[in-house]
């Protein structure tokens, strides 16, 4: 049970990112139907969330600690890239009253940063487990 706490958290946060990016935490929607500059950032965040969810599910079902460490490491990398997705890698609207600047960007930075912290914790736990097994 304790072994899966961090991948459970990883999965929950990934689900919030993925679902949020297509609902309340998504990019701006123009009334005239034209595409907002932040639409790419919204799609990238969705892909990032889905990737993290898949990684979390894999960690949940794989028991071998060495593989889990590799997967936690990949999720750490994805989360680090995810922080830079809205605004740095993909553009967002330039006025900070826009929905993508006021809601999507800060929410996603917080969520991906939380994923990063959870991944680091997961890595440390798995690493300690390997050390204990070896000892």
């Amino acid at each position: 049970m304790k072994k899966n706490v961090f991948c459970g958290l990883l999965l929950a946060l990934a689900a919030v990112i993925a679902i949020g990016s297509v609902t309340v935490l998504g990019p701006c929607v123009h009334e005239d139907g034209s595409e907002a500059p932040c639409i790419g950032a919204g799609r990238a965040v969705l892909i990032g969330g889905c990737a993290l969810a898949i990684l979390a599910v894999l960690i949940l079902f794989i028991r071998k600690s060495s593989v889990r460490i590799v997967l936690f490491f990949i999720s750490l990398f994805v989360a680090a890239v995810g922080i830079a997705l809205p605004g740095t890698i993909f553009p967002v609207c330039r006025m900070d009253t826009m929905h993508c600047r006021a809601v999507m960007q800060p929410a996603m930075v917080i969520l991906f940063a939380s994923e990063l912290i959870v991944s680091v914790c997961g890595l440390i736990v798995e690493w300690n487990r390997i050390r204990r097994e070896r000892a």
Partner: protein, 401 residues
Amino acid sequence: MNHFSLMIRNLTRRPGRTISLILLTAFLAMSLFCGTIVVSSLRRGLASMENRLGADIIVVPAEAESKASMKNLLLQGTIGTFYMDASALEKVRETEGVEKASAQIFLSSMKADCCSVKVQIIGFDPENDFVVQPWIAESLNCPLGDMEVVVGSRVETDVGNNFRIYDRSCRVVAKLASTGTGLDTAVYCNMNTIHILLQAAEEKGIFHKIDSGNDSEVVSAIYVKVLSGTDPGLVNSRLNGHVRKATAIRTAGMMTEVSDSLSGVSRTIAVLIGAIWVLALIILFIVFSMMVNERRRELAVYRLLGMSRKMLSGMILKETALCSFTGALCGTVLGAILVFPFTTLIETSLKLPYLAPGAGTVALYACIAILVTAAVGCVSGFRTASRLSQVDPGTTLREGV
């Protein structure tokens, strides 16, 4: 084993109880810190709005839905495109009790190249202006030239860049300091520039027709400063009678409305914080009371091992202080993570002027929140500490057999 390591062991031995205490105090600190920051930001926003407004009366066209339009324009940056004949300015100046009058022309951009939404363009007369000019002077120390613009703090462009409005290129010469109002999303230019932009808008099919008078000579709002010693209410009535198809609005009334809304929000936040604190304090007392029974035998053993009553109560108090301080610190950090990245969202949701305090004030509020929460945690643990230190080891251990 020294006292500190014993304390840490006691806390880690029962992680559930320790985490609950930390979470509870974190919740207390977070509510106190977030509430204080929001209320303080609202007060700063109102003060900033009062400073920036500078006029006693604003005269707008009758169709501008009077107060609502001006208030929305000032608070939320809602685009206002209403016009009246420029001759109204002379009539206002002629009115008894008027010291100064300055006109502004509003224009809505199409999607400006800064952003995917429209921005408000405000044209003013630098020679007669007493509203925008003092504010602009803080960021620009030379006269505002033709096809030059000054942008609000929230318009995402930099000084020296060109800003395209209706296919006309304007140079950004200054960026204004944040006011926490809708004026942060506006673009300011002189009268020549606004007339060029009005012409450019007409070329794009966006007209600024008025019912009567010359279409090329229009104004959107006239800001009025009354002579000192004159009753602004009286001047307001004179203006309403003297200027046709226009409405004079007293800014004091507008500020009072904003101030009333702010008081309402502050009261609601205070009541919510109060309710959270009362609930959390009750829970804290229950948790500590439960701890008295739970740890009775454990502390009896400490007494048998030679710990004095004073040492025992000190140890319990230190445990409580450590939990409370950790919780208060976590709660304040969490509060900062929740409040500061979402400043714009809070501002647009509250529809009130909102200006976050400076780093020094934030640090001060954080320290206060941490200290108050930690102190409250210690006080609620004090009763438990004194009750547990009174434990008679012999009786307690016999009872447990």
